[in-house]
Symmetry: C2
Subunit: 410 residues, 2 copies
């Protein structure tokens, strides 16, 4: 059971979370709990570090920011003990959760569960501080923002847990953002692959890395609300499972969107072999991730236009890097931040034709121009003007029959 | 160099403390730093624990409240690095500072300095989180409130440091409380024994336990202000040293007072052997520390009055315990909270007669009635009505020639 920052924002909420743990214990389950820092605490600690120096020792940063989870873990253990449940807190270095030395965004290498495997069967609840681990050299590491989800999945995998329940401030994964489409339905079941596509394109309920790990480790993850379901109720969240466990696959399960990308167009680049390699190598050197790419067919056999997207935050760095590349002969380099990526996602589309066509038709009917298209086995994404984002999401949600009125919940 | 909570209250003050460390490093010294939590942080953490439960697992309490020092240690290391000084933070478990399992008020058993002894000579500053240690079982311990002073002295002793500088919000130890006597002088040199008497009777600049440890380990301690002396100045604080290092011993070095005691008088207790033992045994059972004791000489050979002092906070428990003792036949048990203890302290009085007499005469001249007297080798204490505290302290300060106008600083 993993509780995020808003779920442990103050002592009252920690008590409420402890009630949920008691509920699970009373059902006869062995329970390990992973907690985030109280919401706001990590930001405060990060701010202290920035005040001292914008560029600082990542090892010290980790020692500082990991303290938030340490506090919550202790308070949660106390709250459980108050309820008559045997419990103790575990910091990353106490378990230990061994990590590599990439301070600030460390990777978990192993979790030693020997001690927990003795204690859990005796009914003791382990409360682990999320987001943190320790290196061989006994320095504290953190896993990057939102890393507590990854901690929880990794612990669940190491313990061979039946399920990893992630308590958060939403009650599950929806077919799309309910703020845009009030008819959006909660999904009861979603495949890891779908979740990854939904998360990476904007439905940020779970940290992408935690979903990747859950998929790799085969740990079913459930997303639940800490707030909506009264204690003792069985109002389900969304269960994220391996594709093979989903019997009836929806062709399209959700519509995702992201406004975090920017478009770059290189006009009239020489249409010679190796030019694309040159462009993306130079961007990789500047640590810029390129997402969608489209190359227009050459009109004259000599030059072509190359369009691609980068994270909005990386746009200045990308433009700077491209300007410094002497071999890159273009007549113009255009940047457009007013774009958004809209995707339809569904594992069922592997075996269904016509998914993309439905998408293009629905967008055309609303007069929305498609700038770039990219596809994978389980999604189709288009880049459009950001002005049309909500209109596009609503149109696609209806076009694939995802609106509540059209469907019964599973 | 130890910096207390007000000296590291925010990032600006941590920067200022880092400037002082740089100053010491630039003088060619090897420096280890011990820091407290930012002021207010520990209180906030303790408050969280109390909110969860007034009675809580001391091990979890320790895991929670130790996080404050962890943050400051990291920030101080960063601030030093920004100044071009090689530095790293050390938490109690990383050194390790081995403690017993008396969680919440643990005793330090050993400090492993192997790693520091390699790093310090290379010019690396060690920044240790104060107040904390770790048990054999790898649980975090804390040393009790104000324990960072003890951490600093213990580390200084383990490293064989030449001196332990305690930076605090006062600039040294004074002959008495300057708020009462504006003429109070700063002492440049004071013996451990005197410091203990000054501290335990109210001049609470250093944690008593840290002074005891410094005395036992023979670590000279300097008390300095973090605020008053500009960086680079040599305005000295007060040096606390073994008695043997003080050449010219003042007969009386200071006047201390405490309003934290209460007086209990048992009227007409049977004047039989063993009655005193009975009384103080019963109080010891209730964990009440008795300080001053006086037994009046019996008038009739059958009964006597017994007067003693207990900490004001323990008075209700003491009265309750005495009321439950069936063998204690008294006509009355009187409690008086309106008392204060005033002491004259000085290692020179061992070899000087007339110290007590000067005290009694000075108090008599002001019409102050002495209720109880107690003496040790280096102090004379009297219990008086609390109303006269300030008057008594001023009169004694003048009577022993401690006022500024009468003396030149050493």
């Amino acid at each position: 059971m993993k509780f995020g920052g808003t779920s442990v924002a103050d002592v009252k909420r920690i008590e409420k979370a402890a009630d949920k743990v008691r509920e699970e214990v009373s059902r006869g389950h062995e329970v390990a709990v992973v907690v985030s820092a109280m919401s706001g605490v990590t930001n405060q600690l990060v701010d202290y570090c920035r005040q001292v120096s914008p560029i600082h020792d990542a090892r010290e940063y980790d020692a500082i920011v990991s303290s938030g989870e340490q506090v919550t873990a202790g308070l949660m253990a106390m709250a459980l003990q108050k309820r008559g449940i045997s419990a103790r807190s575990w910091q990353g270095w106490q378990i230990p959760v061994m990590c590599n030395t990439m301070h600030g965004s460390a990777r978990i290498e192993s979790i030693d569960t020997d001690e927990l495997n003795i204690r859990l069967p005796k009914g003791e609840v382990a409360v682990m501080a999320g987001f943190q681990g320790v290196t061989e050299g006994r320095r504290i590491t953190t896993l990057g923002r939102g890393g507590s989800d990854t901690s929880a999945v990794a612990l669940a995998a190491a313990l061979g847990a039946d399920r990893c329940d992630i308590y958060t401030d939403v009650d599950g994964i929806y077919t799309t953002d309910p703020r845009i489409v009030p008819e959006a339905r909660k999904l009861h079941l979603i495949a890891f692959e779908e979740m990854l596509e939904m998360a990476s394109v904007g439905a940020k309920v779970l940290q992408t890395r935690s979903v990747e790990m859950a998929m790799k480790m085969n740990v079913p993850v459930q997303v639940l609300s800490s707030f909506e379901a009264p204690v003792g109720s069985d109002l389900p969240g969304t269960l994220v499972v391996p594709e093979g466990q989903i019997m009836e696959r929806e062709v399209v399960n959700g519509i995702a969107y992201s406004k975090d990308e920017a478009k770059i167009t290189l006009v009239d680049v020489p249409d010679v072999p190796g030019i694309a390699a040159k462009i993306f190598e130079t961007l990789a050197q500047a640590n810029v991730n390129v997402d969608m790419i489209v190359q227009s067919s050459s009109q004259d056999g000599k030059t072509t236009d190359m369009t691609f997207t980068v994270p909005k935050a990386d746009l200045p760095r990308a433009m700077d890097q491209l300007g410094k590349e002497p071999d890159l002969k273009t007549t113009q380099t255009l940047a457009d931040q007013n774009v958004s990526k809209v995707s339809v996602v569904g594992i069922g589309m592997k075996s269904h034709a016509g998914v993309a066509q439905t998408m293009f038709r629905a967008l055309a009917d609303k007069g929305i121009n498609i700038q770039v298209i990219s596809t994978s086995e389980i999604k189709v994404s288009v880049l459009i003007s950001a002005d049309y984002t909500e209109l596009a999401v609503r149109a696609l949600h209806a076009a694939y029959g995802l609106d509540k009125k059209n469907k019964n919940p599973l």
